[in-house]
């Protein structure tokens, strides 16, 4: 009795703390039970296999679901996984790529917030990422990193096989760099004297040998004037008005067109370059190459996979994958 009294006297503070802890924990557990937070989804096994769902007397296992879904979508998913593995190992993640990926990620988040609000934007983005094998918003920069590295992979492949892939593309798409000088017409069917005078000034300047870029900067009446009239890359798929596009595609490198009338006014068009090395500096060039030949992307993946040494568990998968990629035996 005497010992207990001494114990209580010396350790009473510990007893108070312990009592407080027990009370707090007990309340915490009670709250969780009330809120159903101890309700976790139970698993189930049948003959050692994980069950996905049961309905009535039907039991459906993960193995069964895999077999059905693999038959429909398996090869496509294997290709996506292969592509990711090839990109991860075969393309360097440069600082430029990291920076761009973060920029694209931040930009998408801002746009998603504007469209879906701060409460729902994350769910929207994550649902899109899940279809691509990612799991959370944190994976978004990684998604963009992979996309940018994929673009790099394709560029490297195209550059390494340019003699194979460029001639047909060049003939079909007519890629070029173009500039123009635009003189706007309020009513293209009835140009005013003032407008015609401006046209004359431009034509005189060009005839006198003045540099096209300078004349465009001085006289052109659209945003390209700030770039000396440069409109950059174009090909047959570029969304220009028909008279402009037809005229631009008919010119050779260095040619300057006569007046071309469109709904916007008079254009004088110049083809700045059809030089391959200059075209290769343009992102649209590679996108257009893929539009012309969609197998370029999968050929790029396959080429790099072979460099990294790819082996298959069975021939059927290799055949199915190649068929899916549109590449020959």
């Amino acid at each position: 009795m005497k010992d207990n009294k001494g114990l209580i006297k010396n350790y009473w503070f510990v007893g108070v703390i312990a009592l407080c802890l027990v009370t707090i924990l007990g309340y915490f557990v009670y709250e969780k039970i009330s809120a159903g937070e101890f309700n976790y989804l139970q698993g189930k096994k049948v003959d050692g296999k994980d069950v996905i769902y049961t309905i009535g007397d039907k039991i459906s296992t993960a193995d069964e679901m895999y077999e059905v879904l693999y038959e429909k979508y398996g090869v496509e998913r294997v290709y996506n996984a292969l592509q990711k593995a090839v990109i991860d190992q075969g393309v360097e993640t440069t600082d430029e790529i990291k920076e761009q990926a973060q920029h694209f990620s931040d930009d998408l988040i801002q746009r998603a917030i504007q469209s879906y609000g701060t409460e729902h934007y994350e769910a929207y983005i994550v649902s899109q990422l899940k279809n691509l094998g990612y799991t959370s918003l944190k994976d978004l920069p990684q998604y963009y990193t992979v996309s940018l590295k994929f673009n790099q992979l394709i560029e490297d492949y195209v550059n390494a096989h340019i003699d194979e892939v460029y001639p047909a593309f060049n003939e079909a798409f007519k890629p070029r760099m173009v500039s123009h000088i635009l003189i706007k017409l309020a009513d293209p069917a009835n140009p005013t004297e003032e407008e015609l005078a401006l046209v004359k000034s431009v034509q005189t300047a060009l005839e006198n040998g003045e540099d096209f870029t300078k004349v465009a900067a001085e006289y052109s009446q659209d945003g390209s004037a700030a770039n000396g009239g440069s409109l950059g890359y174009m090909d047959i798929t570029t969304q220009f008005v028909t008279p402009f596009k037809d005229a631009a595609l008919a010119l050779n490198e260095g040619d300057v067109s006569d007046l071309v009338l469109s709904e916007f006014g008079y254009h004088i068009i110049k083809v700045d370059s059809t030089n391959l090395e200059e075209l290769k500096q343009q992102e649209q060039f590679y996108n257009a190459m893929i539009n012309n030949d969609p197998t370029i992307a999968s050929k790029a993946v396959w080429n790099k996979a072979q460099e990294l040494n790819i082996t298959f568990a069975n021939e059927e998968l290799e055949t199915a994958l190649k068929k899916h990629m549109g590449i020959g035996e």
Binding site: A18, L21, V22, L25, G26, F28, V29, K32, G36, E37, F38, N39, Y40, L41, Q42, G43, K44, G48, K49, D50, V51, I52, Y53, T54, I55, G56, K58, S60, T61, A62, D63, M65, Y66, V68, L69, Y70, Y73, G74, R77, V78, N80, A81, L82, A85, V86, D88, Q89, G90, A123, K130, N131, G133, A305, N309, I310, T311, F312, A313, L317, E318
Partner: protein, 294 residues
């Protein structure tokens, strides 16, 4: 002191532990291919398939199960399906085979089984559900059989009314007086898309008979409504057929069957998919989705 320590530890464990189940395939480690230093396994592919294809797969399989359990007149449905096949073949003529082939069907039989028959079976599933829950839908839809005439001119409407009170045939008068609406006897419900005066009249009506001219001042239209039946039990099958395709009914039917057959999921990712897209199919209590062991 020892007992106190045990008590505190137990409470800590209780509050922190617990893990939602995640179903995996038994051959997850089987390799599909290796490239460089990366192995791509069946388990990895399974996860991507589960994340984007599993809920649709499950609903398809579950619907097949419901059809197997609930539908007893498959022979009659197959006969009907074959009849529809003939109509489709007449419509597409010589192009029929190439059209079904372009959709991935290897044969006519496959097309009938996976498209026409399946649609009929799903409709029948809805019919079974509606029959089992008929009173609920009668109370909600308040169906009535009626004929409707619509006119732009009050005098014409009134003349039509007089003719009908003299015993003339509704459809004949509608044709003679150029009514702009379908004068056939149809089933109308509280959810039918009707002009307000007609809707108001039908919802209130308790007996058969002809309305006076109903005036729609907003649209300058004049209506006559002839209610031919207020007892839906006499045209139960027609009523069911008229609403069986309503999206609300289709969803309710599936929810009903998922509940009836005690649908239970054993994978948290799939549970979340259903919770987001098909919450009414779930029977399980709200699951704690906090991932404790991450």
């Amino acid at each position: 002191m020892k007992k106190l320590t045990i008590l505190l530890t137990s409470l800590l464990i209780l509050s922190g532990c617990g893990k939602n189940a995640s179903a995996n395939i038994s051959f997850a480690n089987d390799e599909l291919l290796t490239v460089g230093n990366t192995k791509i396994t069946k388990g990895e592919i399974y996860q991507t398939l589960k994340n984007s294809g599993s809920s649709f797969y499950i609903i398809e399989e579950a619907t097949d199960y419901f059809i197997e359990k609930e539908i007893t007149n498959n022979d009659a449905l197959m006969e009907k399906a074959l009849g529809e096949l003939e109509n489709i073949k007449k419509l597409y003529g010589d192009n029929f085979s190439s059209i079904i082939s372009s959709y991935g069907y290897a044969s006519e039989e496959e097309f009938v089984k996976n498209t026409i028959l399946q649609q009929l079976q799903v409709q029948e599933l809805n019919n079974v559900y509606l029959n089992e829950n008929l009173q609920t839908y009668l109370d909600s839809y308040l169906p009535k059989k009626a004929q409707i005439m619509t006119f732009d001119n009050l005098d014409t409407a009134q003349n039509a009314y007089v003719a009908l009170t003299e015993g003339k045939d509704f459809k004949e008068i509608a044709s003679q007086m150029n009514s702009s609406s379908n004068p056939d006897e149809l089933i109308y419900t509280s959810k039918s898309l009707l002009a307000s005066p007609i809707k108001f009249y039908l919802d209130k009506a308790e007996t058969v008979g002809l309305s006076e001219v109903l005036i729609d001042a907003e649209n300058t239209k004049y209506y006559l409504v002839n209610i031919t039946s207020v007892d839906p039990t006499t045209y139960k099958d027609e009523f069911i057929e008229s609403i069986a395709h309503d999206q609300e009914v289709v969803q309710s039917a599936l929810s009903y069957y998922f509940k009836k057959y005690n649908f239970t999921l054993y994978d948290i990712d799939i549970y979340q998919q259903f919770k987001e897209s098909y919450p009414t199919y779930l029977n399980q209590k709200e699951i704690n989705n906090k991932k404790v062991n991450q």
